[in-house]
C-alpha cells in the first residue's frame, strides 16, 4: 500500500480510553480505517487497567509490559499517550486533547468518566459537537448500573450462553468472549453512525452502549418465539444449538471422524441433499425409505444421528467434507487453530504482520473486508506506554520539549 492510498477516516481523531477487547476492538477497526486513535493510559498503574497489557500469550520472545499478544492485537495501529488524571495539569491536557478530537470512546464501568470530570456534559463544555460513546455491560442507566461485567457475564445474562449447548447438559456457552468482539463491533458502528450524523448535521451526541443489550438482539428469533407464541427456550430438549430449528434441517450437526478430537459439520438442507448424502453413505440403513422425508428425519432425529455417527467415525473429515461439498451438501471440518490460520489459504489475507517498537514483528488479525477505494491498513503494533507523548503533546497540542520533559519528570504524563 502506498502513502497515496486514501483512507476512509483519515480526517477523524479519536480520544480513546478503551481497553480489553470490548472497547479496544472497536477503536482498532476505526484505526484500520484510517482514524487517528490516541489511546490514553494511566502512567501510575502503567496502563494495567487494561488487564491484557503485559500478560500472556507473549509476542515472540519478548516479555513484560509491552509484550502481551492480545494487547498488541487489539491495539494495533493506535497511538499511545499517558495522562495521570489525578493531576490538574493532566486534566488540562486532556481538555485540550478533547477539544481537537472528534470522538471520545471509553469502556470503563458506568460513572468513572463523570468522577474524572469528563462525563458527557463536561465533554460538551469543551467541545459542543463531540461524539461520546460509552460501552459497558449494563449501560449508564437502570437498577444494575453499578453491576460489573466482562465477556462471559454479558453472554450469560443476555441469553447467548444459554442458547449454546446440548440437551441435558450444562450450557456450553461460548468458549471465548464472543461478546467482547461483538460489543466492539457495535461500538465501532455507534462511533461511525454518530460521526456520520455529525458530518451531515453538525450535531454531536452521547451513545450509551450496554453490551448485554447488544447481545440481547442476537437471538431475535428465539425471543420472538417466546413473546409471540409464548414458547420459551427453557423447555424439554432445548437448547440444542447443533441442530437447526429455523429453518428445520436434519441431519444437522457436528459428528466425530477418524483421529483424535476430529469433527465434521454437516447440514442437510432438504430431501434432495439427504438423497445425495444417503448414497454417499451407501449403507442399508441410509437407503431406508423412512429417512427420505424431513418430517421423519426430524421425528427420529436421535436415531438418525446415532446411525450417522457409526459411519462418520471412520471417515477422514477433510476428504469427506470435500466430497460432500462437491456433491452440493454443506459440510466443513471443524478446523483447529493451526489449520485455519496456517493451512486454509482462503484466510491468508486476514493475518497481517505488524511492527511493534519493542517487541518486534508479529502477526495480528486484520479485517475480513476488502474496500476497493479505501482499503484498511494495519502496519504498527500496539503503542508502548506513552510512546507518542512527544507527537501528541508536542505536535498536536503544541507543547515545547522542555515542558513535556518536566511533565514527565513530575509524573503528570
Amino acid at each position: 500500500m502506498t502513502d497515496q492510498t486514501p483512507q476512509a477516516l483519515n480526517k477523524v481523531r479519536i480520544c480513546d480510553f478503551t481497553g480489553q477487547l470490548a472497547g479496544a476492538g472497536a477503536t482498532k477497526i476505526l484505526a484500520a480505517f484510517g482514524a487517528e486513535v490516541i489511546r490514553v493510559e494511566d502512567p501510575v498503574h502503567r496502563g494495567k487497567w487494561d488487564i491484557l497489557r503485559g500478560v500472556p500469550p507473549w509476542v515472540g520472545d519478548a516479555r513484560g509490559l509491552e509484550a502481551g499478544g492480545a494487547f498488541n492485537n487489539h491495539n494495533a495501529g493506535k497511538l499511545g499517550v499517558t495522562l495521570n488524571l489525578r493531576d490538574v495539569r493532566a486534566k488540562e491536557l486532556l481538555r485540550e486533547l478533547v477539544a481537537v478530537s472528534d470522538a471520545v470512546t471509553e469502556n470503563f464501568a458506568a460513572g468513572v468518566m463523570e468522577r474524572l470530570g469528563f462525563g458527557y456534559e463536561d465533554l460538551r463544555q469543551i467541545r459542543e459537537d463531540i461524539v461520546y460513546v460509552s460501552n459497558n455491560g449494563f449501560g449508564a442507566t437502570g437498577p444494575y448500573t453499578s453491576f460489573k461485567s466482562w465477556g462471559p457475564i454479558a453472554q450469560a445474562v443476555s441469553g447467548l450462553t444459554y442458547t449454546s449447548g446440548l440437551p441435558d447438559l450444562p450450557p456450553a456457552g461460548w468458549g471465548y468472549s464472543f461478546m467482547d468482539h461483538t460489543g466492539g463491533y457495535y461500538m465501532a458502528t455507534a462511533v461511525l453512525m454518530a460521526l456520520l450524523h455529525r458530518r451531515r448535521t453538525g450535531e454531536g451526541q452521547w451513545v450509551d452502549l450496554a453490551c448485554i443489550e447488544a447481545a440481547g438482539t442476537l437471538n431475535g428469533v428465539a425471543t420472538l418465539d417466546a413473546t409471540v407464541n409464548q414458547r420459551s427456550m427453557r423447555r424439554q430438549g432445548m437448547p440444542n444449538s447443533n441442530r437447526s430449528q429455523s429453518p428445520r434441517m436434519a441431519p444437522h450437526g457436528i459428528w466425530p471422524t477418524e483421529g483424535h478430537d476430529n469433527w465434521i459439520a454437516i447440514a442437510v438442507r432438504d430431501d434432495r441433499e439427504w438423497k445425495i448424502l444417503s448414497e454417499i453413505i451407501g449403507e442399508t440403513w441410509s437407503r431406508d425409505d423412512r429417512w427420505t422425508r424431513l418430517e421423519t428425519r426430524l421425528h427420529d432425529e436421535d436415531e438418525l444421528e446415532r446411525l450417522l455417527t457409526t459411519w462418520t467415525v471412520n471417515q477422514n473429515r477433510h476428504e469427506l467434507a470435500q466430497e460432500l461439498i462437491d456433491a452440493g451438501v454443506p459440510a466443513a471440518p471443524v478446523l483447529k487453530p493451526q489449520e485455519r490460520i496456517e493451512f486454509d489459504q482462503r484466510t491468508s489475507e486476514l493475518w497481517v504482520t505488524v511492527e511493534h517498537t519493542e517487541a518486534g514483528q508479529s502477526k495480528v488479525e486484520g479485517l475480513p473486508v476488502r474496500m476497493s477505494e479505501t482499503p484498511w491498513s494495519i502496519t504498527r503494533g500496539a503503542a508502548c506506554l506513552g510512546e507518542h507523548n512527544q507527537y501528541v503533546f508536542g505536535e498536536i497540542l503544541g507543547l515545547g520539549n522542555a515542558e513535556i520533559e518536566t511533565l514527565a519528570e513530575e509524573g503528570v504524563i
Binding site: L160, G175, T182, E213, G216
Partner: protein
C-alpha cells in the same frame, strides 16, 4: 441523493438489499437507524419467509418470525431478476441507491449484467457491498451458519470438558451476524469517505474471515506461541484446563461465577452475607473466609507461592458455590453484584428481555402489527443514541412497497 434530516442517523440514505439470510442483519441495522432499506425479494418471496417458527404456528409467508426479526423497518419489493422487465426496474432502483447489500453467489449478478461492474461508472457514488463465503473472487461452496462456524474457528472453542462430546455451534446465526457486524461499519466508513470525496466503492465481506477474526484466544494463542486452545464447559477455551466458572443454583438455573473474589472487602462481604442468611454452620468455607482479612488482594502468582492465599481463594469460590446451593440464581446474581462481585445469571433470551433492569431501560420494544391487530415485543436497540434514537417498525409484507417502483419510471 443525500438529503439531511436530523431525526435519525441514516435518514436520506437509500439502501437496496437483495433478500438473503446472510446479509439481512446488515440491512436491519441500517433500517432501524433511519435508512430507507428496500429489500428486493423474488416474486414468491424470500425463502426465509418459509422458515419456522411461525406466529401462532400458522405456516404463512407473512408469519415467519425469522422474517419478522431480520427485516424490521424495511420496505419490500418483489422482482424477478431473470426477466428483462424486472431487471430493468432493478437497474432503475440501483440508480437511486446510496448503498447496495447483497449476498448472492459470486457470478450470479454478473451473469445477469446486474453487478457492481455495471453500475460503478453510471452511479459513481454507489457503495456496493457483497457478503460472500470467502470473497467475490472465491468459489461458493454450499454452506450454512453451522458449517461456517465449524471451518471459521468458533466451534473449535465451544463445547464441554468432555471431548467425547462434539464441539458446539453457538446458537442464533452468529456466523451471518458477524459478517454483517463487519459489513455495517465498513459501509459507514465508506459513507464518511463519500461525504468528502463524492465517490462510492466496492466492499467485499468474507463470511469465513469474519468468523476467523472473531475467536479471541484461539487465534491469539496460535499467533503468539503456536499453542492450541482446548474447549472447556461454559468458559474460555485455553491451552490448559482451568477451574469451573459455572454452577447450578437452588432453582436449577445455571450461573456464571465470573471473577472469583480476591480481596479483603469481597471475602468480608461473603462472610456477612452468609451470616445474614444464618448459614454459618452449614457453610464449610465460612471459617477460612475469615483468614481473607489478611489479604488486601490476592495476586494470581501468590496462589502458587502462598498456600494460605490458595486456601482463601478456594474458600471464596466454595462460598459462592455454597450460596448457589441455597439461593435462586437471580438472588445470587443480584446479591453478589450488589456486594461488588462480577457474576451473571444464565438467562434464556426471553428471560433477559423481561429482566427489570432491561425493562426499565426500555429494551423490550413493542412493535405494532396493524395487520394482526396486535403488538409484539421485539428485542430493542443495541445502542442508545441521545439525539437520534433507534426506532423500528414491523417487517414488510411481500411486495408491500411495490408502488415505489412506479416513481422510478
Amino acid at each position: 441523493m443525500t438529503t439531511t434530516s436530523p431525526n435519525s442517523v441514516l435518514s436520506g440514505y437509500r439502501v437496496i438489499e437483495l433478500a438473503s439470510e446472510r446479509c439481512a442483519l446488515a440491512g436491519k441495522l441500517m433500517a432501524d437507524m433511519g435508512a430507507e432499506v428496500i429489500v428486493v425479494e423474488p416474486p414468491e418471496g424470500c425463502k426465509t419467509r418459509l422458515w419456522e417458527p411461525f406466529a401462532d404456528d400458522v405456516t404463512d409467508p407473512e408469519n415467519s418470525l425469522h422474517w419478522w426479526h431480520y427485516n424490521t423497518s424495511k420496505k419490500s419489493v418483489a422482482l424477478d431478476l431473470d426477466t428483462d422487465t424486472d431487471a430493468q426496474q432493478f437497474r432503475s432502483l440501483i440508480m437511486t441507491a446510496d448503498v447496495v447489500i447483497e449476498a448472492e453467489p459470486p457470478g450470479r449478478l454478473e451473469a445477469l449484467a446486474l453487478d457492481w461492474e455495471q453500475f460503478r461508472e453510471i452511479n459513481s457514488e454507489l457503495i456496493w457491498t457483497s457478503v460472500t463465503h470467502h470473497g467475490r473472487d472465491g468459489t461458493d461452496p454450499p454452506a450454512t451458519d453451522l458449517t461456517l462456524l465449524a471451518e471459521g474457528g468458533p466451534a473449535w472453542s465451544c463445547g464441554y470438558d468432555d471431548h467425547e462430546i462434539p464441539p458446539v455451534r453457538g446458537g442464533g446465526n452468529q456466523a451471518f451476524h458477524t459478517a454483517c457486524h463487519y459489513a455495517v461499519p465498513s459501509i459507514l466508513a465508506a459513507l464518511m469517505w463519500r461525504e468528502d470525496s463524492g465517490r462510492g466503492q466496492l466492499i467485499d465481506v468474507s463470511l469465513l474471515n469474519s468468523s476467523n477474526a472473531t475467536t479471541e484466544f484461539a487465534t491469539l494463542w496460535w499467533l503468539n506461541g503456536e499453542r492450541q486452545v482446548e474447549r472447556q464447559t461454559g468458559r474460555h477455551a485455553l491451552p490448559t484446563m482451568t477451574e469451573w466458572t459455572q454452577i447450578q443454583c437452588a432453582d436449577g438455573r445455571w450461573f456464571n461465577t465470573g471473577v472469583p473474589p480476591r480481596n479483603k472487602r469481597e471475602f468480608q462481604a461473603l462472610r456477612s452475607w452468609i451470616e445474614q442468611l444464618d448459614l454459618t454452620k452449614e457453610c464449610p468455607a465460612y471459617e477460612i473466609l475469615k483468614l481473607g482479612d489478611q489479604f488486601e488482594r490476592i495476586g494470581l502468582l501468590e496462589l502458587d507461592e502462598d498456600p494460605l492465599a490458595g486456601e482463601v481463594f478456594q474458600a471464596g469460590r466454595d462460598a459462592i458455590e455454597f450460596l448457589g446451593q441455597h439461593l435462586k440464581a437471580y438472588d445470587l446474581f443480584v446479591g453478589l453484584q450488589q456486594r461488588g462481585m462480577a457474576c451473571g445469571i444464565v438467562y434464556s433470551p426471553d428471560e433477559m428481555i423481561e429482566d427489570p433492569h432491561f425493562v426499565e431501560r426500555g429494551f423490550p420494544q413493542e412493535i405494532l402489527y396493524e395487520t394482526r391487530n396486535a403488538s409484539h415485543i421485539h428485542p430493542g436497540a443495541p445502542y442508545r443514541f441521545s439525539k437520534t434514537p433507534w426506532s423500528t417498525t414491523r417487517a414488510p409484507q411481500l411486495g408491500e412497497h411495490q408502488a415505489l417502483l412506479e416513481d422510478l419510471a
